[in-house]
Every structure is written in C-alpha cells, then in structure tokens.
Amino acid sequence: MTDTKTNTIAVRTVGLGKRFGKQWALAHCDLEVRQGQAVLLAGANGSGKTTLLRLIAGLHKPTQGELQIFGLDPQRERLTCRESLTLVGHEHYLYSQLTALETVLTWARLGGGDLSTDQIRGLLDEVDLGDHRNQRVGGFSAGMKKRLTFLRTKLENPRLILLDEPFSALDTAGQQLIEEWVDGYKVAGKTVIVASHNLPRAALLCERAVYLKQGQMIWHGKSSDMVQQMGLAS
C-alpha cells in the first residue's frame, strides 16, 4: 500500500482554528497528510474532529491559521478543491421525497456527469440498495441512508475522502463494505481521513492517527500505538 503514497501533501494545516461564538471548537491545529495516507482522527465528543473535517471540506471558514488542500486554499479555489474531495458526514444530504435512483442521478448530473440508469443500478447494487432503487429515501433506515451517501465517494471519484463516523448506524455487512472500499481507495492512492469513535475498527484502516482533546491536537503517531499510548484500551 505504501507504494501508492507520494510526496504530494494532500492536506496541510498550520495553526488552524475555528471559533463558534466565544467557543473554540478547534485551535492551533498543525497537520500534514500525504497523498495516499489514511489518517484516523480520534477524540471524545466535542474534541473538534467534525470541525476539522468540515474545515478541510471547505464548509467552514477558518477563524485562524492556514489550510491547504493539494496546495490550494479551499476558500479561494473552492471549485478546484471540491473536485478533489468528498465528505461523508453525520448528515446524509438527501431529499426525503426522491428515490435512491433519482438521488444518485441528481448527484451525478450536478457533478457534471450523466450516468445511465443501468450504471446507477450497478452502483446501488454495490451498496445493497439495488432492490430499493425506486423507494423514496425518506423511508430508508439510517444505515441505508449511510450506504447511499457513501456512494458519493465512488460517484465523485475524489482524491481526498473525508469520513465522519463512517461505521455509525451500519450493520456488520455495511461496516465491512466501508472497510473494503477504504482499502480499495488506499490501494488506488487516494487519501482518506476518518473521524471515528470505533477505534479498533478505524485503527485497522488507518496507519496514522491524530488524537484531539477539547479542540487541541494532543497526540499523533501510528494508529497501532495510539490505543496503548493514550490509554484507550477498553
């Protein structure tokens, strides 16, 4: 897997911080992620993991510090940056009234591509939603919504994949599917940043880990070392 890594820096943050009102959600974050790496963001609730992912995705504007995505400033080069990344977050970005097929078709059209119905069926089959393609997503379970949203990582073909709690709401088969896809992305030289509370599972996917506490990055190193060094063994 390491042969797909390059010296290209996918994400670089220098003193990055984000404040909401008077509360700093993230402060003084220095992070460098190379292309092809998979990095785990760990930390308790409210530690700043989601904020960091949303900053990288360009959904938040930094209050302080610098952020570069493949050498570009996401605030200035929004479209170019967004072409190279995708975020699968807590929210599913779905319209309850659309069917699974229509949802994927809409994403494809907006992303500039135009997929045939057969191609979309194929994609939906990959996430075990083929039989539900004509069902409105408002009636989907949380796990089914997660699977559908996860399709965006294939549809948009990004170089940088941001996953916020990818295993939540998913059954064992769904979690294995995510793992397989992430492994495939790593082999393909894509960069993956995963924020998760499911440390044993996520640590296996990511070779590097960063631990956040109250908005501060307090530890970084090998994922395998994190559980032991941070005293996180359950």
Partner: protein, 226 residues
Amino acid sequence: MARQAWAVVRKDLLLEWRGRSRIVSVLLFGVVTLLLFSFAIGPDSVILQAAAGGFLVLALLLSSTLGLSESFRLEQEQRAIEGLLLLPVDPVALYYGKCLSNTLFLMLLAPVLTPVALFFYNVELGPTGFLQLFGLWGLAAAGLSAPGTLYAAMTSRLQSQDVLLPLLLFPLVIPVLMGAVKSVTLVLTGDPMSQIQSWTLLLASFAIIYWSLCGLLFPHAIEEGS
C-alpha cells in the same frame, strides 16, 4: 454551468411534484388573500375593478414568501444544501437553478389566481389580455424570485426565517411591485395613454438587475463566513 443549473431545476421540479401539498397550500393562500381583499373593499364593483391589479400582485407577493421559504426548508432537511455545495457545483449555477425553479413555481399560480381575481373583482378580459397578464406575471415572478431566492438562502438556517424573509424582501421589491401593479392594472382596466410599455420596461429592468446582482451575491450568502 447551464447544465448544472438545469439539473437543479429538474431536481426542484421533481421535489415540487412529489410534495404537491406545498403548491396547493400556496395556491389556497393566494385565493384566500384575494377573497379577503374583496371583502375588505366591499361590493363596490368600480373600486374593486380599479384595485384588482394591485390585489392580484399583492396576492402573488404574499404567496411568494411562503413558496420561497419552503424551497430552502427542503434544502436544509438532512443538510441537502451542504451535499450540493460539496459537489463541484458553481454556487452561481445553484442560484440560477433555484431561482428559475422558484420563478416557475410562482408562474404556476397565475392560471389559478388570475381567473379567481377576475371573478371576485368583476373584471372582464379577452384572450389578448390574458396573454399580456401571464407575460407580466412571469416578469413579476422573476423579479420576486431573484431577491427572494437570495434572502431565502440567507435566512434558511435561522429559526425566524418566516418573519425575516418578508421583512427583508418586501422593501427591496417595491420597484417590482410598482411596475407589476401599474402594468397589470393597465391590462385589466384599459390603457388609453399607452403607458403599459414603460411600466413593463421598468418591471423587466428590475428583474434583470436583480437576477444579475443576486447571482453575484449568492455564493457569499450560501457559503459560511465568506
């Protein structure tokens, strides 16, 4: 960009079709508004006919705030708008797509509200008048949708959107309101001095200005902290 804007229109029209109760509610609101205006004026058919144009445009304006705020409420559901912004979609394309679908939505009110207004206010209109009226309705809908879409996007994350949207929108659309009221009134009551062209021009000019200006401002409104 045009292709992406069209994709937004298709998506919005499909959502409108699936949530037909929304357009029915807005239509009923428009009809009730027209009815209330006619009750407020009383049975004097001369005054009713003279005020018919104004009431029809006001019904459109009041109905538009309901439709506009609802269009972004759907986008906030499960943060669908963020899903759109995460795609490599030009926010300007997103704006024009939303704006066009909102204009089409408001234009759908015309075939219902116009005959109702003509009936309530005892106005007779020939086929040419109907065509003129629908054309003017389209311009007014475009003039209202442009700033309406911008403000609906700006206020969509706020709990007080229903209050804020009309407060922000109404003062800004006074020129559209004036142009639409005058030109619609001239169609309904006759235009002996051929003034309709100049009022229509005013209406069209403001629609164009709003479409251009709001398209430039929308990316700053929709993206956090820009």
